[in-house]
Symmetry: C2
Subunit: 474 residues, 2 copies
């Protein structure tokens, strides 16, 4: 007997710390331990392993266990077995390499979170959501856990159709709703890229909007044309001169981020334009549920369901981490969008879909919205009062609705104010960052204050910190 | 007073069936009712509405309620209000149109479901999943419900890294795992389209594979090259002649659908090729958890984590409706994939992510897999036994692992057998449908039998129906 086998076997045995359990576990533990020994170089490429009888004796294992482990590692490519040359470590297993772990594990967060577009994450209705999940999952038919309908679960589409008709004046039926993972996912269905867009031509966009949306459109190869935004919202009259535009993306309930509703005449003009050009209006109803001083303005979609694509989600009303949204489509776009989506639901999990359906049907959603409207309204009022007292030189706009306000700053002070905010740990965006790079004319200075973002216990401190960083009166 | 107003008001009042509740509800109900009256033509475009005082009197509502409703509908574009001309229905509201509802609400399902790639939907572990959801949601930090990390929740990435190391021999750490909505979503991150692919060049694919995957690759504009598949899996030696290939997509644990594991030498050769060409191996480990006769074959990824992208999901082990999967990436691809994904989690819901993490950590996942392996193994054995007795002319292959078997049929009999299957309500695929259209040589006749798909109570009947439709011996 060659001593080197015994040594090797003993070494392996000593190093492996095999956790001996049932037979299956012993074999699995041996396989894992041998893999590790190859990986970390204890068993070098090309080196021979002890015959399985020797290793079995050394480790106190059944021969069969060791021979099966060897066979498994041969099948995986870690070891090679050739007649007459025994079992060896494969030559081509790579040397041990340190796996990089230096990537930051979490994003850095500022102490005072006033980023627009974020609801209060601490207000997610955990208990009600779990209760809805229990009802929904227990009641679901077995087929719910099979391959999903590309439109999304019928239970959710029914509940969304009912809710949108009631709360947003949307005219649709469940067959024209397609569930998706939010606004961006919906846009990717309308412009799936690879040359096969559901919508044609350039997309007219508002002068102000999310940089993320512009990046998305650039990534999927959609050219954009810019509409001026004034106190009545987007100047949709400019569409007439945009010969190559096949669609216009609007935020009619609450222009993002400047904050006003689209003027009634312009709502009609946008629909008129879409009819005349065989184009469509994309209605981004990102925060339509939040209006504080009167009823929310109903959706433009209701004016002409065949010319408006309505995009909504629970990202502002419940949580952006749920990743649930919907497209309400004109009839002629349903089949093209489903073709882009593929024959199965590709993204949105069935448990969340069924849970949201139950959450809507039980009235939990309405209750949650009422609670959040009250909370955000109080914060808005406190913001307005604090500014009136401590920074009267700053004008607040866009506060009738939504989760953010725009603070107009004295000309030229936005960059320095943002620097001061960073210094004081206040995370918020300047107005300039939302402006389309091709927009013409000067950019007014301003801050976009997401007053919904902080948790209740952090709101007052965030507001105080904000007031600290605002520029002094001239 | 003009009688027409009174009539109109009475007519509206009579037709509206206002549900009178609290003040807010009355106003909302009136708005909805007026919208409906415009939509269905009862209030024609251009017609004048009664002064709000008259309507208020007719309906027994406060004047303020009616005037607010009018104002709201003007804001939405349904009505117009001009000095001296009163309130009128907007001219441009579209005529009432029947919303199409004829689209089929659910896909037609055959009585005997033997489609490959589907686990038994009736076996989804509802109670254990709900219990895990409760633990996970209650324990989650508040920031979990804010905008998500594009890599996915750290809790899930940790649990997946631990599981894959233990069960599949995958070498990684949580920082190199990116959560996605399944295989296709992972591929879309690697080939995001719009000209900005993370991976370069053509993709070599196996001669047999899912048509859905080929469609996906065509949609995102990735050219494919075809590798022959034989009894040892994909002939990766052919990669050497494919000068433009930048990656190869393999199903090493269980070639889909033909069913064998990739030969050990070929596992090593694929990694060698990737190293020599600065290319990558895409390892589609779609059913690696299911092996019946011995330990599952470990992942190729373990041989060289810097040259293999590992794609996994719970679509076969739990449910395709959960839409949860993961990419295990070489370090150099992490940042490009995150750039393609965007700065936030765009698709996978946080509740499911946290729930799966808890489900893995508690051992529920292992327990579920053991139960399902046992169940599927029994079905496989029954399938083999039934065929041996009732259709000895049919050879069964690919049964050591996975959720399906391939039945080799006498030459030329596949089309007629599939017709017979349809006639008898047996839903399954023929082998030919999985073959790449550019593959050379004759296509052997066969059936791909997904024995995992039916519920327990339907399995025996499905098996009997399958035996009925198989061709007679020559």
């Amino acid at each position: 007997m060659d001593d080197s086998w015994v040594n090797s076997g003993q070494r392996i045995g000593a190093d492996l710390h095999l956790e001996l359990g049932r037979d299956g576990s012993r074999r699995a533990a041996l396989i894992t331990a041998l893999r590790e020994a190859v990986r970390d170089g204890r068993l070098a490429p090309g080196s021979r392993l002890p015959p399985y009888r020797s290793l079995a004796a050394d480790l106190g294992l059944a021969r069969n266990t060791v021979s099966q482990a060897y066979a498994e590692l041969v099948a995986e490519g870690w070891l090679t077995a050739r007649q007459g040359s025994g079992t060896r470590v494969a030559e081509r297993v790579d040397p041990p390499s340190a796996v990089r772990t230096a990537r930051p594990a979490t994003r850095r967060t500022a102490p005072h979170l006033l980023l627009s577009g974020q609801p209060d994450a601490s207000a997610f209705p955990r208990a009600a959501w779990l209760a809805a999940a229990r009802r929904a999952v227990q009641a679901a038919p077995a087929e719910a856990f099979g391959p999903g309908d590309p439109r999304g679960r019928i239970e959710l589409r029914r509940a969304v159709a009912e809710y949108l008709a009631r709360a947003r004046g949307v005219r649709t039926d469940p067959e024209r709703i397609v569930v998706c993972a939010g606004f961006a996912a919906g846009m990717r269905l309308l412009y799936p890229g690879g040359g096969g867009g559901v919508l044609r031509g350039a997309l007219a966009v508002e002068e102000y909007g999310l940089p993320f949306h512009r990046q998305l459109l650039a990534a999927v190869g959609v050219p954009t044309r810019v509409l001026t935004v004034d106190q009545h919202g987007a100047a949709v009259g400019e569409l007439v001169g945009m010969e190559d535009a096949g669609a216009v993306l609007l935020t009619p309930a609450h222009q993002f981020p400047t904050g006003g509703p689209l003027h009634p005449e312009r709502r009609l003009a946008a629909v008129d334009w879409a009819r005349a050009r065989d184009a469509v209006v994309l209605e981004d109803d990102y925060d339509g549920d939040f209006r504080y001083d009167r009823q929310p303005v109903g959706a433009v979609q209701g004016l002409d369901p065949e010319r408006v694509v309505y995009l909504g989600s629970v990202s502002k009303s419940l949580s952006p981490a749920l990743r649930i949204g919907w497209l309400v489509l004109p009839d002629h776009l349903v089949d093209p969008v489903l073709a882009a989506k593929g024959e199965r639901e590709g993204f949105t999990g069935v448990v969340d879909q069924l849970t949201l359906a139950a959450f809507l049907e039980s009235g939990d959603y309405d209750r949650h919205l009422r609670r959040m409207r009250q909370r955000y309204r109080e914060r808005r009022d406190e913001l307005v009062a604090a500014l009136a007292e401590r920074a009267p030189q700053v004008t607040v706009t866009g506060i009738a609705a939504g989760l953010h306000a725009v603070l107009r700053l004295p000309a030229g002070t936005e960059p320095a104010t943002l620097r001061a905010a960073r210094w004081h740990g206040v995370a918020l965006f300047g107005l300039a960052s939302f402006r389309h790079p091709e927009a013409v004319g000067p950019t007014p200075d301003g801050l976009v204050v997401g007053y919904a973002a902080p948790p209740d216990h952090g709101w007052r401190a965030a507001l105080a910190a904000l007031c600290e960083v605002l520029p002094e009166a001239d």
